[in-house]
Symmetry: C2
Subunit: 264 residues, 2 copies
């Protein structure tokens, strides 16, 4: 068992049109982990984006965010987190070899390779989900299935863990759409604290402590009945929203097909 | 009934040490409202911060964010949203007359005056919760009670609405801690669409549609039993976390007392 607290750098990828809530979930959750579990992890968070040495501002959900480091000078990450996004920024990233090379390079040494929402498509485009189970936003989960080596579970889980560390192949944790990043990050807190302390109950306790810190006792309006994913909503609403999202779905499928063809 | 779609500007306040998840929730939810309900609202979102004409970058949850507009050149807002924060940035804001004057000015014409987390303390410091019900993060809800004219409901609601429009006094919607901003924003979508269309069922439908878009079918790990607020967690965990948060609690209470004394 290594000495505690362990240095632990979380890297949140930023790219144009990435989603702000996708990043804000883990940023919040990991900050509280570092604050309240300083005896376990000496945690730092870096935002990383762009190929230039000096990071340029990017648009995350329409809000201007400046990464702390770039692909060139990013430190070795213990946890790599890839957020989802949309529009041209996501399409461009699926085919951006510099970005995908950065993900591959960090994934070689990172203990945890993770994503939420369409970030799972970026991990897949980098080949990092080959031979792993993974999921993403419900509206484009069939685009993830286009990658022949990725095993996509049925349904719309909040997150999906595939731990192949016993076989020397690392661990992948991929989240569903957007808001899933909060549930997923609380699970990652549990996983990390358990891994570092070898005390499963401390992992659960840490997750619950952070959940309390962010006052996460979720209660969406108009529930019950539940809502929020295709298995839990009114079929008419699902049909209409699937229609609303079809241009996005088409764009993403096209970008994924081009990526797969170019790597073939 | 006014013509639809109605121009509708959402303003998200930014200040140093404000919380990124507090902003990311409404930013995400209102973006989807604008995208899918363009027949009801012509919605735009601005981030606003700083007294200078040209906004300077601020630190939101440790991440560098640049506001779109400043207090000087912010357009008239239809919905004013005040996020929570912590540390020196929050303390300074509670006594920042320029910031509080900006809130008062916008609140005069805004249809919806809203906050989440310790943002409720800023509304209260500006006098904007005088005579209204309001809530905030569980750890500092007693600091909100220090304001003699604010009515703080018992417990830890996800959000609290006080609609005094029939009496010509406007509406206040205040959220609980941090993650509450998602539930609260989904409720605000319902409220706004109902107000604009006079069709309550369209409000519910819009809220559910956005909930599906962000795949918000929450499922924190290790639940049930639930967690995430003082009424739903293990008493030992609550005691420990209350202890962990006591320096923050003291800072906030001190800042609030100073504010109240200086306005007396």
């Amino acid at each position: 068992m290594s000495e505690l607290p362990q240095e632990f750098t979380v890297g949140l990828l930023l790219y144009d049109n990435c989603d702000l809530l996708d990043i804000a979930g883990p940023n919040e959750v990991f900050q509280f982990l570092g604050l309240f579990y300083g005896d376990v992890v000496k945690l730092s968070i870096v935002t990383v984006g762009g190929a230039l040495r000096s990071p340029e501002p990017i648009q995350a959900g329409g809000i201007t965010v400046t990464p702390m480091v770039s692909f060139q000078n990013c430190p070795k990450l213990e946890l790599l987190f890839v957020p989802g996004g949309n529009g041209e920024g996501l399409q461009a990233s699926i085919s951006d070899d510099t970005l995908l090379d950065f993900l591959r390079r960090q994934a070689e040494s990172a203990s945890y390779v993770t994503s939420v929402c369409t970030g799972g498509l970026l991990l897949a485009a980098a080949g990092l989900l080959d031979g792993y189970k993974g999921t993403c936003h419900w509206a484009v989960v069939d685009c993830l299935r286009l990658f022949p080596q990725v095993q996509v579970p049925d349904g719309y889980p909040r997150w999906c863990e595939d731990d192949q560390r016993a076989a020397g192949r690392g661990i992948r944790i991929t989240g569903g759409g957007i808001s899933s990043s909060i549930d997923e990050s609380l699970y990652m807190v549990q996983r990390i604290v358990e891994d570092l302390t070898h005390q499963p109950e401390r992992g659960v306790e840490a997750s619950r402590a952070v959940q309390l810190a962010i006052q996460y006792n979720p209660g969406p309006p108009n529930t019950p009945p539940p809502g929020g994913d295709p298995d839990s909503v009114d079929p008419q609403l699902l049909e209409r929203m699937t229609g609303n999202m079809s241009p996005f779905h088409e764009q993403v499928c096209t970008a994924v097909r081009q990526r797969i063809d170019s790597s073939a």
